[in-house]
Symmetry: C2
Subunit: 408 residues, 2 copies
């Protein structure tokens, strides 16, 4: 969603071409970032028969009205006659939390609907299009003769609902990794000290990012060193998130009451990941208490580390569809090495901490040949005060997404 | 100079306020980047009595006409009457390679001259202003009621001729450090492999940067691993640079004929830095040959490493006023630890190389407390293809510059 430029709504009647309208729909979609999960962010723009802007809308919160409905709200048939609806995702075919958008649209005197990507759910994919076509509305997937712009738009259409697409296509948790490093890639001093590497503008944006994912995930070291709250503290966002802690040997489990985490979250929103081997021991000591976190017993691999894929499978089963890893160095490295990261956010401060005595976020990542380097796809850059942020997707995941897309 | 935005020249007669005119003068100044050393980059803008743009000029090459002269060229007295000349640096008072600008201006029917910074040479500082004032021209240093813009302009006025100011104020070589790293701060794999971390757009820009400094400086490892040419290969720049190699124990000295360096540079432009302790040995083996490089015998410190300050003193004596360090990791680290770097350029590619098995450019930099972190001042960001570049100055030098400035 980082690639989406926020655009001002044009004056009514302003002529927009298809590309401009789709960029505007993307901008609208991105406004839903904090509240739609596990639904996708979707945006819609309505043009009149001459290509003049009429209205726009977006999916605002989970279970709320869909983007198309918000765009069409309050308009009369005479406003809609011959109109062209541009929407980032295929209008839904089925009645779910809200009635089917495609069926609602089919009743309207619109001339055309252009949608960005087809619904990834194989059971309904294309059904929305069919319903509208059967009603005599031209329903087309977005395309453009301007290849460069078309490629940009296609990437953004995927990115704006990437967690949703990943969930549907792979039945897996979407994993984002957020790091705050120095210019030389260090995330903490040897002592563990890391507050603060980045400035207040970056840190406020991280609170926004927390709101875009179902849960924050951290390792034991981050909890014991920083004792963070890990809740969302942002002037414009009122939302409760979940927290996942990796504490393989359950070392911190009996210190819960002292952790800030437990004062800023209800314990049912905290998930404690412990090695399976400790199960009987823990169950004896900590009978399921209302004051304790949810405990997840995770399989371990030969070297005694948690099997992170198993961890993600279990939290997916618990309804958590996206997580943002927030450290520390070891946790970040482990997820990278396990090839489980979908998107990365690296905030870099213009400081040097020195690799000679600090900790890197890739300390356990080893690359032997330049051809094996890990490539970040579609990188975007943004500045926050004196810091900058780079975000992009990991090659492996990007390739998988592309392959799946080609089948669509 | 990285902070200077390149502006198009306005139409003649376009009204410019003082801030706009100074930004334009800065943009003009920056056009001299590749060819003015050891002179400063200077730009000038001429406005008519109503504030309308007449002309502009910049110092194009060492020994060539000054910015003011280029701005005034071909204009008649009637064009100049009541005019306002805006120039980034105080017009020179003395006759040097070219006649005194201040005296030339004193003869013109101009109303006012606004200059950015005073000439740093204490013997002439303020003399240019006096010559013009005595002739009845208002000569004022730039100031603005818009504090934010004024601060920006003042930083840019220093930055556009920072090497020149540093040379004059401290009688020292201006040192830039250029690094090409992965997103996690690695500059080479364990094997030494580093080609290519960044993309072609970044690499072309590095050739431009080479042209902005008198010499490139590298360590022995970079020479033996990459065998680089280290010359300037840029579509728009035809310039010969100098090369400085640090080879403490003279290990590569007898392999010179095999090095690409010696095919792309005349040997008089190559400087080989060797520990003083090897002097007698080398002088026996390599009697001064026209085919060999210039040899610089550098003092060593207690741990047997070259005293980099002594190295820089010696190359200053040889007329080299600015260098850009281009690697490797050890050389970069050594200059940072010695607090000898004035400006840094870090090009980062959106790739991960893994701190677990690669080399960081700060491998010998150790910071124990967050308060001792090395702060990059006035950071600017630029993207090159998929890479981005951050540049800024080092705190220590920035503070020294500020102090000196306050005395001016």
């Amino acid at each position: 969603m980082e690639s989406i430029e926020t655009l001002n709504l044009p004056e009514k009647g302003t002529k927009l071409n298809l590309e401009q309208a789709m960029f505007l729909a993307l901008s609208e979609a991105s406004k839903g970032a904090s509240f739609v999960s596990p639904n996708p962010m979707v945006g819609a723009v309505l043009l009149d028969q001459h290509g003049g802007f009429i209205s726009s809308g977006y999916h605002q919160f989970y279970g709320g009205a869909h983007a198309e409905v918000n765009a069409l709200k309050g308009l009369r048939d005479e406003d809609l006659t011959g109109g062209h609806l541009i929407v980032t995702l295929e209008p839904c075919a089925h009645d779910g939390k809200t009635p089917s958008c495609a069926r609602a649209i089919a009743k309207l005197p619109l001339h055309k609907v252009t949608y960005g990507i087809i619904d990834p759910n194989p059971l309904v994919a294309g059904q929305g299009v069919k319903i509208m076509s059967d009603a005599g509305i031209i329903a087309e997937q977005f395309s453009s003769n301007n290849k460069e712009i078309a490629a940009q738009i296609r990437i953004q259409l995927e990115e704006v609902c990437e967690a949703f697409l990943w969930n549907f296509r792979h039945k897996k948790v979407f994993v984002a990794l957020k790091m705050a490093s120095s210019l030389d890639g260090q995330v903490a001093l040897k002592s563990g000290e890391s507050q603060w590497i980045t400035g207040p503008e970056s840190r406020e944006y991280v609170h926004f990012l927390r709101s875009c994912y179902d849960a924050v995930l951290v390792g034991k070291g981050t909890i014991s060193f920083d004792n963070p709250s890990l809740n969302i503290r942002h002037p414009n966002i009122d939302k409760k998130n979940k927290v996942i802690v990796i504490d393989t040997e359950a070392e911190l489990l009996n210190t819960c009451s002292e952790l800030n985490l437990f004062h800023s979250h209800e314990s049912q929103n905290i998930f404690w990941c412990i090695a399976e081997d400790f199960k009987s021991e823990i169950e004896l000591k900590n009978p399921n208490s209302k004051l304790g976190p949810n405990i997840i017993y995770v399989k371990t691999n030969i070297s005694g580390h948690l099997d992170l894929e198993n961890l993600l499978e279990q939290i997916y089963e618990l309804g958590i569809r996206s997580v943002m890893i927030e450290g520390g160095a070891l946790t970040a490295s482990s997820f990278i090495v396990s090839e489980l990261v979908n998107r990365i956010y690296v905030f870099q401060a213009p400081i040097i901490l020195g690799a000679g005595g600090a900790k890197s976020w890739t300390e356990s990542v080893r690359i032997e040949k330049m051809k094996d380097k890990i490539q970040i796809q579609n990188p975007r850059y943004k500045t926050f005060g004196n810091d900058f942020m780079i975000t992009g997707t990991f090659q492996k995941n990007r390739l998988e997404t592309k392959n799946t897309n080609n089948q669509g």
